[in-house]
Symmetry: D2
Subunit: 305 residues, 4 copies
């Protein structure tokens, strides 16, 4: 296990770093399946007990991880097959998905920072229906059932002077949606997971998670409605990656890592508030955000089919 | 008086089109003064009675109009003298401006439509303090008194599925500011007023005003806190300008305009939802929005001096 | 015929306003066909003689106009059927389209002015291949034949200090493409044509055309390579629309329009450098530009099939 | 000296890692001075010999580095004092700065990637004069002498399919400026230098430098005109920072680093094409780019005074 504090938003990675030799762990169930045609590896981590949650550093709940290598490669248009898979998994986590509901999609992050712009770019491509149904009825879509989809881009505290949670709480209490879907860019521990992994969880957003380090939580507990979070790791925490390299070395050299770590961590203080990302991040975010928004659009439609 | 319904957000223009021969009108007081050095014409229209409000098509309240021809011309940086004048007028309309207050600035409009991007661009340049004072105290600014400034860009209904008023109401009830300052791009009737006029009013935003035609009101009545609106006309309503040209002609020719108008207005239905704007609107909006945001920044500072 | 100078970039409209009673005109051939399934009206105007060119105010050449009402309506994704039709018509105008060629796509206009952002947004979505083939060979695409597609967004003179033509000439002489495809937002005379019409011509870009009024020409004559121009009308010239309304009135009233026009045109001087556009122009431009870029992508692919 | 290949665009850092114990080095002269009032440390590194150039990994020429800690802190508006200092140093490197000249400013980098957007954002704020002087003469500015300033944002190869050098060459040969000023975001080795250091050099842009790793050179040799490059380090190369941490450790532990490095460097292959940057990079780039553009504007004006 790492001598440095692990900074990962992926339950998958949290589990890797704490699981026993045989990969099992008390209070944590894992289901995996592989979609051959689409080349998508789906891993479902279920944290069942408070104790397991503590060890994992993630709250009790379900974490679905889709690993889709194709996501990093350009497609004619976007990756429809990945959007379809996302829609399926999403519908399984949304309570009463078969019922007509009002759903608010929250695009977290900073549009001005490429690696953090996933949320804002996802809401840009959503099929928004709430205002049309409210003003013209479902007839406007020639259908008898239609989810009311709305969206908000709360922005970042440095620009608004408000916590994201304050803004979202206010909008939720004013428009009372049935479910929240929150989109955020995440930090992974392993560079190999960047931009090709999608995590869907019913535990919402935890304090200090995401690229932008949101201070407050966006959870059912804090907002009063179920919160599904969809995240894609777009960065690696700088301190983490350096820490990992050193751990590796310390292990290899079998000298006293701990004694050493003290000095080193001071040297690494300057790495705080820094992150590592790829040079083609703009193209990646554009493509991934479109795939995610299409996944949500498909799910909203399927729910009504 | 125009045969076509007047579409103007400027009290100044509303008055011009309804005032008597001698320019006076019952229930409406007007004060004017000219700042020679800055070449700024300030006109204060005070609508005192319900009846006058009805005739003017504007609610009872104070409307300060700054006409600054310099605003359309490029400056080394921006027009500091206009920002100073705006700050002065703004402070006169903010209740208890001398007290330490929490002020929420709302940037209305659509960032993606240049002529409607004034609000979003103004909030981009504000000096936001609320989160800093909340987290680190006023000490962070080495001062004993400091307004808490926050801002929000609610976006447009087509993208959020929510009325602007729903979002603003929610944020207001969650963060309870003392005063709202709402920024919006306006429609003028006269092209000569575009981009060189700033209107400040204590009546907030009325339904159907602005370039984006916000359906709901943002007023003290609807939000429970004083609402100061700052607007700059960036467009002319298409139907209005054609209508005006026709009125002119009808007058000149002294034939029966009214009979004619019926036919013509049908022909003009297609002009609805269209507006007219200048070809250099991007440079104008960039400069004007900076001048307005600086005006607000200066006012917030002065209030603490 | 209009008493005011006609300002239209559409050959279709130029013809309407100059054709004889029977709609025919010497030196101008017209072919029309209607694609029922796709609801696309295609009109091919061929200007064959210098004299006809003079009367029409458009150079000798072929002007294909696609009128597709669906273009203004939102689609699940974008209008594939319109892109297919555009690809077909485009391939008929590109010389030696069946041969492997190097094609430079030029996105004219100002990204910061929504109604003028068509060109820049089209190049954003192109499938660019030149650098890949140059560096890794066609093998990179597992194919033996591949067009070399490159693109440039020259920007506007106010920001670059250079004529668009200077920048394009320089890039052409340095990279010597076989064909240019130039994209630009156009001005229509009739609001009913806005955003639902695509004009493709082999005459390139003429001085003073487009929303941004490019001063110089981009033509085979000036650049030495064939120039295909694709344009979509996104604005109506303000003076034109007022003029049309007045003409209508003058005709109706059968009084001496010409005497009147003198006065009026002075009154309309202020309308110069103004244009009229729709309030949902951002959504329209986003959708239309994607449809056009897909049309080009499909054409480049078909050419190699 | 580092066991890993150093990736730095700063001559200052290159020198640090190769200089002798006494800090001196044959063929390299160094002048330093400190501007107390402005708290700006200016270091001028002059590489005089081919041999020194080889050891430094930088071509023969002058490298002026301004270290201004204030640059990372928000200012009322921007840092005028730093712009003034930049203007002075810039004028010393521009040949015949006292003469009236035509100057083309090239904004390198990718506007869509925040850390790489310095160049594009700098050209956004330049005072462009070439087109005005060409069309209306110097009289337009009521002056007898005026530099002709133009600018171009060539974009990135992934979007244009062309090398930046091809585009710039074409524009230079078409508009024949007297001097080029090229702006680029740089990679530093030391995180403490990020966003507070400005490097000005008369050697232009070297292959493989900058955040975007431009493949080709932009130099007097390749373009035929003097090329002044202004760069600000906004990122740290990921491999470099991990490498540095390991070197440190290896030194501390005094075991055989070289044997170890082999293994590690493979493990670090994945770090290629990744960089490290700060979380507030958007605010930093916005402020720094404005300071740099003002520096250039001031220099152009002074040259005419």
């Amino acid at each position: 296990m790492g001598s440095f504090q692990i900074r990962t938003d992926l339950a998958l990675e949290a589990r890797e770093s704490v699981s026993d030799a045989d990969g099992s762990m008390r209070g944590v169930r894992v289901e995996e399946y592989y979609k051959e045609e689409e080349d998508i590896q789906v891993t479902k981590v279920m944290i069942d007990t408070k104790n397991a949650a503590k060890v994992m550093g993630k709250p009790v709940g379900i974490y679905v991880t889709m690993e889709a290598p194709a996501l990093v490669e350009p497609d004619e248009d976007y990756h429809r097959e990945i959007s379809d898979c996302l829609a399926e998994e999403l519908l399984q986590l949304i309570p009463n998905a078969e019922k007509e509901q009002s759903i608010l999609v929250v695009g977290l992050g900073n549009r001005e920072v490429t690696a953090d712009a996933l949320g804002p770019q996802v809401v840009d491509n959503l099929f928004i229906t709430r205002h049309v149904v409210k003003n013209y009825g479902k007839a406007a879509y020639n259908c008898s059932r239609m989810n009311l989809v709305s969206s908000i881009e709360p922005g970042v505290m440095a620009k608004t002077g408000m916590e994201t949670a304050e803004i979202v709480k206010g909008v939720v209490s004013e428009t009372s949606p049935d479910v929240l879907i929150v989109i955020d860019a995440l930090a992974a521990r392993n560079t190999r997971r960047l931009n090709r992994t999608i995590q869907i969880t019913n535990t919402g957003i935890q304090p200090g998670s995401g690229v932008g380090n949101h201070r407050n939580a966006l959870t059912q507990e804090s907002l009063g409605v179920p919160v599904i979070a969809i995240g894609v790791p777009t960065v690696v925490d700088a301190a983490t990656i350096v820490g990992d390299a050193l751990d590796q070395l310390i292990r290899d050299k079998a000298f006293d890592g701990l004694e050493y770590v003290g000095k080193q961590s001071m040297a690494m203080a300057e790495l705080n508030n820094m992150y590592m990302t790829g040079k083609d991040i703009d193209a990646v975010i554009k493509r991934v955000s479109f795939t995610v928004s299409e996944g949500i659009n498909i799910a909203m439609e399927k729910a009504m089919a």
